[in-house]
Symmetry: C2
Subunit: 337 residues, 2 copies
């Protein structure tokens, strides 16, 4: 390996991405710009948010330019450096791309990480990274659940959802998870300690409302929403008065050309509920605090963080699509080296 | 007049109400139940919320039973009393119905009002009633606008909307109103002191977004939503980061058999906006405080409260439908006696 394989966005997907939307090219390994560095990527995070970055629409981050590699958070090792703060061989984490080698510029989002104390450097892409911190701050600072309240998590078997449910239990909530299929529902109960699990598959609106209501007879106080669409539409009919919905993700809608959204806003009004748009980037100044808490819970065995590690840049497309087929069990990570 | 005309809900409307959904019957004037009273209604409030009560769906208040008169807030005079706290001839306000005479029971929502200091007893159905208090508490306690922020009001020429805009100006906001038609837009600017007025009629989504953006180049900080549907859908594309949407009403959707809702929730997430379901009933314990502030602003000439007074129980249907055709200018009130 002395060349740089790069997984490029060749055209903008129309709905669900297809292999032709991407291309894998091989280029020369870059050299550090003045004050910058080159990172040898070892693991890349695969996240639903990347699907949004592939569209040419306004968002909280600019679209990925066509012909650029697909933006991704990675962990890796400094390969070459023109910056005295980063020595060659140092492990770092940063917002890079799906490629063997990434250029990091001064002042960018690159930080050193300590890998000796963790099971794998990839943990910085799961429990100790944006995923774990999304669960932590979204629940603690946005939803602010009280002990005894009922917390409903959609996409509950996913990386964020499984962390949210476990943190909800630590905070004293009754926790209900919604997931797709009996295997995932079993994992919610057996692996993550949820109080109840609901399989949304094959259920129409009325059946889903009935099942959530049965699991939350006093109503749902907090929804941690990762899915949107028909799942959210059912959830709003089960809200207790003054319920809070943390709008963290809408994975059912990212590939949809017609958005479902939330059709009956009247339920929000009549129940005096609130919907909070939430992005973990707003809590960057508190990552150290959140990371320390997550690391402590992990070490105490109070928190279980599963990773679904897929192998090889050449499999980037198939790996990414696991997010939308619901195939991944745990945080989806691509091992690059 | 020695009989009681009553405007009954004969069947539940399917979409837009038609005359056949109601019937006007004449019955004997009731007598007070033990501890209760009979109120001679003089004015009744006509509100979009009544449309919701006509449906057989769960809400914050039970549906109007078929065969009962249409529930309405009224002001009137005590006609007969079995309660020492309410003398015959006393003016009262309460949740009654569209009928000449209503029975009020002990412990219900009936309170004495002082009519000498106001221009008309009907003011208790507009600026000094739920309409004015909805504007006051929705803005002050839910949206919490800061001086210099941009406030966008939909249904701005309506009873609540025009009060919201004027209170927003008092609070130091830049205020933009959305209304239907050039006459209403002119009233926003000339009568209510809005900084900008946008006519939504004949504009598609892109045109509406463009026009709001032109009026709010730094983005909208607070939306006071009375309309929903396509208007709300456009508004969310103009939100500044951390914007607050007060969800007060959804008049575009009450008669719709297919709800529009909010299709692109991603805009809420990406902009870290919040949506707050709001019902004035939650502030009942602070009505005296809010009413005193509204009365002061009225007397100081800082606030203008227009009423659209329609005549006669026999015209209740036509009067009510003015809410949905956009015909009313100011708070819609039905004069009964």
């Amino acid at each position: 390996m002395d060349q740089n394989r790069r997984f490029l966005l060749a055209r903008r997907p129309d709905g669900e991405p297809v292999p032709e939307d991407f291309s894998l090219v091989t280029q020369a390994i870059p050299t550090p710009p003045p004050g910058g560095l080159v990172v040898r990527n070892h693991y890349a995070s695969l996240d639903p948010a990347q699907r949004g970055w592939m569209d040419d629409t306004e968002s909280y981050m600019p679209p990925i330019p066509l012909g650029d590699p697909v933006r991704a958070t990675t962990v890796g090792v400094v390969h070459a450096s023109d910056n005295p703060d980063f020595a060659v061989g140092q492990w770092v984490m940063g917002l890079n791309a799906l490629e063997d080698y990434s250029v990091a510029v001064p002042g960018g989002f690159t930080m050193p990480i300590a890998v000796d104390a963790v099971a794998s450097p990839s943990n910085y892409l799961s429990a100790l990274g944006a995923v774990g911190l999304t669960a932590y701050f979204g629940l603690k600072e946005v939803a602010k659940p009280q002990p005894g309240e009922t917390l409903l998590v959609s996409g509950a078997a996913g990386a964020v959802g499984s962390a949210v449910g476990q943190i909800g239990k630590i905070m004293g909530c009754r926790v209900i998870g919604i997931a797709g299929g009996p295997d995932k529902c079993r994992r919610l109960l057996d692996d993550y300690g949820f109080d109840a699990a609901i399989d949304y598959r094959g259920k129409d609106h009325a059946a889903l409302v009935t099942e959530i209501t049965a699991a939350a007879p006093d109503g749902v106080n907090v929804v941690f929403e990762n899915v949107g669409g028909a799942v959210l539409e059912a959830e709003v009919y089960t809200l207790a008065r003054n319920a809070r919905i943390v709008l963290c993700g809408l994975i059912s809608e990212y590939n949809a050309t017609e958005k479902h959204g939330l059709q009956n806003l009247w339920q929000i009004l009549a129940r005096r509920a609130t919907i909070h748009g939430f992005l973990i980037a707003d809590y960057a100044h508190r990552f150290a605090e959140g990371g320390a808490q997550m690391a402590q819970w992990l070490s105490e065995g109070k928190l279980r963080a599963d990773e679904d590690v897929q192998q090889g840049l050449e499999n980037a497309y198939d790996a990414f699509m696991r997010l939308f087929s619901g195939a991944n069990t745990g945080k989806l990570v691509l091992k690059i080296a």
